[in-house]
Symmetry: C2
Subunit: 149 residues, 2 copies
Amino acid sequence: MAFQSELEVFRKFLKNQGMRYTPEREAIIKEIFSIHDHFDVDGLYISMRRKGLRVSKASIYRLIPLLIEANLIAEVFFDKGQTYYEHIYGHEHHCHLRCKECNKIEEFSDPRLKDLEKELSERFGYKILTHKLQVIGICSKCQAKEDSA
Amino acid sequence: MAFQSELEVFRKFLKNQGMRYTPEREAIIKEIFSIHDHFDVDGLYISMRRKGLRVSKASIYRLIPLLIEANLIAEVFFDKGQTYYEHIYGHEHHCHLRCKECNKIEEFSDPRLKDLEKELSERFGYKILTHKLQVIGICSKCQAKEDSA
DNA sequence: AAAGAAATTGTAACTCAGTATCAATAAGCC
DNA sequence: GGCTTATTGATACTGAGTTACAATTTCTTT
Ligand SMILES: [Zn+2]
Ligand SMILES: [Zn+2]
Ligand SMILES: [Zn+2]
Ligand SMILES: [Zn+2]
């Protein structure tokens, strides 16, 4: 099957669920898929307002679980009261290495995690859906800062 | 060096920081280290009240970051507005396999994660502190429920 | 052991992400 | 177009976690 845009995928998802496609949902999704980075609700709302796109925060909060359900985005991590998301549709699954000091993030993927998933599935009888690996460390810049301090 | 109790470790930590050892802190720590499972602030508070141990929630909230700083406990995961913690002092590092439906948790550890940490450290120049791997799936009981539904 | 400086406590007020309510509006189907 | 029903935005609410502050307690110094 040909590659479908996020919007196409989502329209089909909505139809399947007897839900409606609205201009507000379209605006939010377009905004989300124009950001090629991790994002949070507040940042999204602010950048939409700046562009004169007026949707309520409630609509954003209401849309996010649908986009997750439709496998278009996923929660990445929760930090200091903020939940961050990222695109997953059309992206390779990857994990995150985060600097504890400056929150800089590196992405990586590793085939061993798939093997591990398989072994866990056999060992515990779970059907594995996904995994989230967060590696926490200190980036080279922050290490330098610490040494000189 | 001989094994030190959590209390001993924490008393030393407090002294180092110019902080004080109080009966409230002692009561909370004793309660935390009597629970051999993942715990959250609310559950801790309720079980202390049941035993007639009267400390305020604010004191619990104030103590937890100190216990984390002292490497006695760590945040495990955040789910539905609740933050869960577990002991780490004197425990092997492990990861979690969680059922998306019933939240049942299995613990496991895998030496490949240490290798991965080392490789990431070299590749990105980070000093690695720790990792948190959460595998999400459906446990066998919940699979059975889904099939019969 | 008493005094004094400084940290800690509990209470209550507050913050802020996320949710629920509801009347007005709009999408989708005939 | 007209009808049914989902969605919207405004607003009120919830609940975890934080903060301010006066009263209390720890710990050090003598
Ligand atoms: Zn850094
Ligand atoms: Zn990412
Ligand atoms: Zn289950
Ligand atoms: Zn655990």
